[in-house]
């Protein structure tokens, strides 16, 4: 699936929720289900410092695609991180670098992107883009 298709699928999934509680129940479940990051990647280097919750993000290139794994000490953040990874993991660096991320807004979670929320989600999106641009530049050099 393309990044756009992944986002549209999430938007469709979220349409069934009647109220905020169902929505957050789902996000919390996602957080609990997110495959754990390999402990060896849970390092300070991979730590994206938000003000409140910690997010660890690891990226590696597999067959020309960037694969992300992540973790957070807060379960809602972890669920949101899980959504971002669903959308952006297993895509080429070029596609990630060029992607427009619109699903967060569409599913009514824009407030989580506000810099004052400081839950690391905004920083994580930036970091993912940076990885993508970095790997893209590397592949052009090679």
């Amino acid at each position: 699936m393309t990044i756009k298709e992944q986002q549209d699928r999430i938007i469709e999934d979220f349409e069934v929720f009647g109220d905020w509680m169902e929505k957050y129940e789902y996000i919390i479940q996602l957080g609990k289900d997110l495959p754990l990051i390999d402990p060896k990647y849970k390092t300070d280097d991979n730590l994206i410092r938000g003000c409140q919750s910690k997010v660890w993000l690891h990226a590696e290139l597999q067959d020309g695609k960037l694969v992300f794994s992540a973790d957070s000490d807060a379960v809602i953040t972890k669920g949101l991180v899980g959504l971002v990874i669903q959308v952006l993991s297993n895509q080429t660096p070029k596609d990630i670098a060029e992607a427009e991320i619109y699903f967060i807004d569409a599913i009514g979670l824009t407030s989580h992107l506000s810099p004052t929320r400081s839950n690391g989600l905004l920083s994580m999106l930036k970091q993912i883009k940076l990885y993508a641009i970095g790997y893209q530049a590397k592949s052009i050099q090679n």
């Binding site: 905020w20 509680m21 919390i28 919750s53 379960v75 839950n119």
Partner: protein
């Protein structure tokens, strides 16, 4: 803190008070706003908002220099605000310096001590429960002067270890800078004892009264405190304004903080002589409107009666602790015997930010995180807390909403 069945919480005018705060009359995420983040900043009554609007619509002008009518009016209002603040804390108006806030006030004192009184090998005493704003300025001063920052330890309940403090006092200590009320734990520190013990060895004391000002009466003469800092926005006033109180003798000894207009008597390129206190410390055009707003805020609290405010908040805090205690797995961080209206807690292993997000969805504003007291969080080995901090306009119904909200959050988090 003792908790007994709390009924008859009497503040007959709480609805009248609420009506004076326009911001409280709104819904957030579909629910009537429950604002319990007063430790971070309080909301503003119409009296404060009106005073600031009147300034800009009626007599905005620069202070202390103009001969024209508006400037004289602005100067009178600005200086009247200083008198209002002075009377609020029981000081003389010449001892009240307008600053940007508590942080600015502490930096002013730390900067003066760095320049004038702190030398290699000297010591500065702070406590484990300080806000970063009462840690970092001293740390910077100590680093520059190769002095040592010493920290009063606290008990598991969140009280200062006073016997250790006493043993820390020695002739090398140049100042003791501690908070009156902890913003994270709500602990009310025994500041009179602290000041007495420090003074017995000739050591001056600075009190961070940012959290104290909205909740308890400040009488600087009774305390015999040397410096006291507070922020306007935490006591129903505007942001960007606060004060430093300094004993007159200390203010004469302390060198100017910043140079500029308004703080001078005479300037030549060879030498500048400084204005008398307090203007010596107020370089540049001050936050005139904000100072006037702060004066209005203090007049407002004075009119409510700080003792009545304290009595009401005490009962409300008791009620909140009692009700929150009924939530399984909830533990309080900070259980001091003497405490004010900031209540920090954690629930099981749930991250505070998760609880905060789910409370926000229900229109309940609390603070989550480390509250700018990272060393304190490390002391308790926690990432942060959920903090509900109360003000005079909060009600028992709002406490009930908080408790229901936390219960719902816990259910969702599973």
């Amino acid at each position: 803190m003792e908790t007994t069945a709390t009924q008859n919480i009497i503040w007959p005018d709480v609805e009248l008070i609420r009506n004076e705060f326009p911001i409280l009359q709104q819904t957030v995420n579909g629910n009537p706003l429950v604002y319990l983040d007063n430790g971070a900043t309080t909301q503003k009554p119409v009296q404060v908002i009106r005073s600031m609007q009147e300034y800009y619509t009626g007599y905005n002008s620069n202070v202390h220099r103009g001969v024209h009518t508006l400037s004289q009016k602005a100067t009178s209002a600005y200086e009247a605000a200083r008198h209002q603040v002075a009377s609020f804390i029981g000081a003389d108006h010449t001892e009240v310096i307008f600053t940007k806030g508590t942080t600015d006030a502490i930096n002013l004192v730390a900067s003066g001590f760095r320049k004038e009184f702190l030398n290699e090998g000297d010591e500065v005493i702070i406590s484990t429960m300080e806000h970063h704003s009462n840690i970092v300025p001293w740390q910077l001063a100590c680093e520059e002067k190769k002095a040592h920052l010493k920290v009063i330890p606290i008990t598991d309940k969140g009280e200062l270890e006073m016997d250790v403090f006493e043993s820390m006092l020695n002739p090398r200590v140049k100042i003791v800078a501690v908070t009156w009320i902890s913003n994270s734990l709500g602990t009310i520190n025994p500041v009179k004892d602290i000041i007495r013990l420090a003074h017995a060895q000739g050591i001056p004391v600075l009190l961070d009264a940012a959290q104290a000002a909205p909740h308890i009466q400040i009488r600087v003469r009774d305390l015999d405190v040397d410096f006291l800092a507070l922020s306007g926005h935490k006591v129903y006033g505007p942001t960007g304004i606060g004060i430093l109180y300094g004993k007159e003798s200390w203010l004469h000894k302390l060198p100017p903080y910043q140079g500029g207009g308004d703080m001078i008597k005479h300037v030549t390129f060879a030498k500048t002589t400084y204005a008398d206190i307090p203007l010596k410390f107020e370089a540049g055009t001050p936050a005139i409107c904000e100072a006037i707003g702060l004066g209005a805020a203090m007049a407002y609290v004075t009119q409510l009666g700080i003792h009545k405010v304290q009595a009401y908040e005490h009962q409300l805090t008791k009620y909140a602790i009692e009700q929150l205690s009924t939530i399984p797995q909830l533990r309080f961080i900070g259980e001091a015997k003497h405490r004010a209206a900031a209540i920090s807690f954690l629930i099981g292993d749930h991250h505070p930010s998760d609880v905060g997000v789910l409370l926000d969805q229900q229109g309940i504003a609390v603070r989550t995180g480390h509250h700018c007291t990272q060393p304190l969080m490390e002391r308790f080995n926690i990432p942060g807390t959920v903090r509900a901090s109360l003000a005079v306009y909060n009600t028992t119904e709002e406490i009930d909403r908080l408790v229901q909200g936390v219960r719902k959050a816990v259910t969702l988090l599973g």
